[in-house]
């Protein structure tokens, strides 16, 4: 609780107070607690607790969705508002080590309030709490939909207010919220299933409904683990490709980051953003095909040597072509050295002809090259690099991408790589050519 702003504390106390007020009211007025079906309530509470203790982490970072909704909504049908509130209150005891008491109390209280609200809506729409008759299932649907329609947004609002008061969310991602609401409503359906089947097989219905969900959770866990492992592997392999060139180490990771920043700035969808993250990472894998001697050569290159450099995007494509999902990223890797005015390589495409991915990677690539140390010059500061990008907009770079990148850097900042110490003397001759560097274009002499 320490560290929270005072209005957040007030809100917290208010929510907990309201919940206890409601419980007190139920206990004192009309003795509504006496009519509860305690065995059913106990089973549901246990179920709720189990679900609450293993939250299903979906793609949205701050919110841990848990299957507990299904149990709470089933409780609305089976044991009424008071029961649902009591079931929700058990969130206080959820097995999540390290969760502070105030958070537990808040969680329990907000679930209890939601339980009450949903229960009242259910009764208001003509639902009668209790185990529903087998042949009267149809009458259950409307009140249940109403209850879910109140429970889900109310729960969401109570938590969102808390998070924003505590200053933990600056921008609520709209797409994330929509996704969240849809999955909440999905979980609500499971609540209906549990309630509808209760008359037939009692608590076994909960097991049958929740087993696939737990398997799904396990599957998502496996997926996330594989995804993390995949990211680490691809980064490690790309860095391995760079070890040969002492000064460009870390280049692929930074280009990947900068490309992602641009993609997010111009509002690219999440699938494409993901693809460009990998494209940025892999854009230079073909560089190994360039003989080291060419990169170490002092002075201008011959046309033949320059052609070897120009070949590297194609080489990169050749390597990554077997990776199905990259698809659009292939074009990005192949064309990342095209220029806006059509003087780039390998195909001399211009302006709109250049695939979008390639235009993004080109900006990110040049920017990282300018802001990194090279054997022949020190790193330039970020403002200088931005000036360079501005100067190149319309000739070398797509102006739209340059503007987007500058905006993103101004907002989020850019962490340039630290000073690279001079390579240990044991290392071979330093690489003196950087094909990405727009401040120092590679000089080519004609052989004729």
């Amino acid at each position: 609780m320490r560290g929270l702003p005072w209005f957040a504390k007030v809100y917290l106390v208010a929510v907990i107070g309201v919940a206890f007020g409601l419980f007190g009211h139920s206990a004192l007025v009309g003795g509504r607690f006496d009519r509860l079906e305690w065995p059913t309530l106990l089973v549901l509470a246990l179920l709720f607790l189990v679900c609450e203790s293993v939250p299903t982490l979906l793609n949205v970072k701050q919110a841990a969705i848990s299957v507990s909704f299904s149990a709470a909504l089933a409780a609305v049908v089976l044991v009424g508002p008071e029961g649902a509130a009591l079931v929700g209150m058990t969130a206080v005891f959820s097995v999540r080590p390290g969760l502070p008491l105030t958070k537990r109390l808040f969680n329990g209280a907000q679930f209890a309030i939601c339980g009450y609200a949903a229960g009242w809506t259910f009764e208001l729409l003509g639902g009668r709490p209790g185990v529903p008759d087998v042949d009267r299932f149809d009458e259950l649907i409307l009140p249940f939909a109403g209850a879910a329609g109140v429970y889900v947004p109310l729960n969401f609002a109570l938590i969102a207010v808390m998070l924003s008061l505590a200053g933990q969310v600056d921008r609520v991602p709209v797409r994330g919220v929509a996704q969240l609401l849809v999955s909440y409503l999905g979980y609500a359906t499971f609540g209906l299933l549990i309630a509808g089947l209760w008359a037939t097989v009692q608590s076994i219905s909960a097991v049958l409904v929740l087993l696939p969900l737990f398997v799904a959770r396990w599957g998502f866990g496996q997926y996330l683990a594989q995804q993390r492992s995949y990211d680490a592997t691809i980064a490690a392999l790309c860095q391995a490709v760079e070890t040969k060139d002492y000064y460009t180490r870390g280049h692929c990771t930074r280009v990947s980051l900068a490309s992602t920043m641009i993609a997010e700035e111009i509002g690219m969808g999440s699938e494409r953003t993901r693809a460009i993250r990998y494209a940025g990472m892999l854009h230079d894998v073909g560089k190994l095909g360039v003989p080291t001697k060419v990169l170490q050569k002092d002075g201008p290159l011959t046309e033949e040597e320059y052609a070897a450099i120009q070949l590297h995007p194609m080489r990169g494509l050749e390597i990554v072509r077997g990776i199905d999902f990259l698809d659009e990223a292939f074009a990005g890797i192949m064309h990342h050295h095209e220029k806006h005015d059509g003087t780039g390589y390998p195909m001399g495409l211009a302006a709109e002809e250049i695939p979008e991915f390639a235009r993004i990677i080109a900006v990110a690539d040049a920017f990282d090259s300018i802001t990194s140390d090279r054997s022949y010059r020190g790193a330039r500061p970020v403002p200088v690099a931005i000036d360079q990008l501005r100067k190149g907009a319309g000739t070398q770079f797509d102006p739209e991408m340059v503007t987007a990148f500058i905006k993103a850097v101004e907002r989020a900042g850019w962490e340039a790589p630290g000073k690279v110490p001079a390579p240990p003397s044991g290392e071979a001759e330093p690489i003196v050519k950087d094909h990405d560097d727009p401040t120092m274009p590679i000089q080519v002499v004609s052989e004729r």
Partner: protein, 424 residues
């Protein structure tokens, strides 16, 4: 690059037998249903549609295993159905088979239309598992229904019988799948059963629960059950699709990036791929489980990655001919790269110890890679039998000191069979 899939020619005898059996059962089912008439047509059509949808949304799990969880669950539900909203349903087992077959065919058609031929053996297996359960359960459906409706109103016996029969049917399915796989990739049956069980268990549990749920939900919710039951399973399907996707991408990526050593001129073109194919085949011959084989494949693909740290390639890239200290240093550097991932610890260890002699007892995977790598350095992409024989002879000379005798023995069994693969 990959050869076109030829569904007929790649089938072996076990698969053909399975497909023929499925065909026979289908004919019997459809013929019987046509002759005796369809009982409860709306229910049959509803479940048939659900089965078709499930077949349409089939997915390929790691190891090229085709599954259709929603379709399978719907088939289970239709088999286990006792009543619809309290009214008893009495469709016989052969009608279940007919609905199952028609639904599956309908769901496979759109795939066929866009040029994705069905895996006939996988479809046949799904159909036969469903048929097996139907023949076992349908005769009991009547008595079980009477129990649920009688004075006792108890569902426990019905639930118990359903659960037991589903478990038996799914186990049979797993054993059949393992037999087919063992036959196909020449793995030991016990290992194949273990692999299949590990791969299928979570999804099967979800499918079984959903199938029972469907049969029970039809009791209290009527046909609406068909719509809501699929929800939990849909979530499961999404999760597993993502998982299967990333697994496939992972393998593709490591395969693709293992070629950077070739593009950089450090090794012969196709070396990493050939070594990995040979190593995995040897590993399988020696009875390694699928998870170990995956690690072996990763290690084999990346065994030369350490060479990237050399500023200039070793001429010809033949590590078998370079001196031992340098080979060891390359292995260390490669292991260091892989260790950077923070996740492939075992793979890094296998790569690190790939050139140790037998006396240091390196892991089996390292010994396999050492032998496969040296074999490929000697033979390369050539399919010349004499050259392969000479290379094997040379490996045999190094047995017990350099190479594990078991590995070399397994390899000499394999080399003849793998000859066409060397052209990859």
């Amino acid at each position: 690059m990959t050869p076109p899939i030829r569904p007929w020619r790649s089938l072996d005898s076990g698969q053909l037998l399975l497909i023929c059996m499925a065909g026979l059962v289908t004919v019997a089912g459809v013929a019987h249903t046509a002759a005796a008439g369809l009982l409860d047509p709306p229910i049959a059509v509803g479940f048939g549609a659900l089965i078709a949808t499930g077949e349409l949304a089939r997915l390929t799990m790691p190891g090229n295993r085709e599954v259709a969880p929603i379709g399978t669950a719907a088939a289970l539900g239709y088999t286990l159905l006792l009543d619809m909203g309290g009214r008893q349903v009495e469709h016989p087992a052969l009608q279940v088979v007919a609905v199952l077959a028609v639904g599956m065919l309908a769901g496979a058609l759109p795939h066929l239309a866009v040029g994705r031929p069905p895996r006939l053996d996988a479809m046949a297996r799904r159909l036969l598992t469903g048929a097996l359960l139907a023949f076992a359960f349908r005769p009991l459906a009547g008595p079980l229904f009477d129990l649920t409706m009688g004075p006792s109103m108890t569902w426990s016996p019905a639930l118990g019988v359903m659960a037991a029969m589903i478990v038996l049917a799914l186990l049979t399915d797993i054993v059949v799948a393992a037999m087919l796989r063992a036959d196909q990739v020449r793995a030991a049956l016990a290992v194949a059963i273990h692999d299949e069980l590990r791969m299928a268990a979570p999804l099967s549990a979800a499918v079984a629960a959903s199938g029972m749920l469907l049969a029970l939900a039809a009791h209290s919710m009527d046909m609406a059950a068909l719509l809501v039951f699929a929800a939990p399973l849909l979530v499961t399907q999404v999760a597993f699709r993502k998982y299967a996707g990333i697994r496939a991408t992972y393998l593709q990526t490591v395969r693709a990036l293992s070629r950077v050593t070739e593009v950089g001129g450090y090794v012969e073109p196709g070396h990493s791929r050939r070594v990995s194919v040979l190593a995995v085949a040897v590993g399988r011959e020696l009875g390694m489980a699928e998870s170990e084989l995956l690690e072996l494949e990763y290690a084999a693909l990346m065994h030369d990655i350490g060479q990237l740290s050399l500023s200039d390639p070793i001429p010809g890239g033949a590590t078998v001919l370079t001196d031992r200290d340098q080979a060891r240093r390359i292995a260390e550097l490669g292991a260091e790269v892989i260790r950077q991932t923070g996740v492939l610890g075992t793979v890094a260890e296998v790569v690190r110890r790939q050139c140790e002699p037998c006396a240091d007892s390196p892991p089996m995977a390292s010994r396999i890679i050492k032998a496969a790598n040296d074999y490929d350095d000697l033979v390369g992409g050539s399919t010349d039998r004499d050259r392969a024989g000479a290379a094997l002879e040379r490996l045999r000379l190094g047995v017990t000191v350099e190479y594990d005798p078991e590995v070399v023995e397994a390899m000499s069994h394999l080399v003849d069979r793998l000859a066409p693969l060397n052209r990859l």
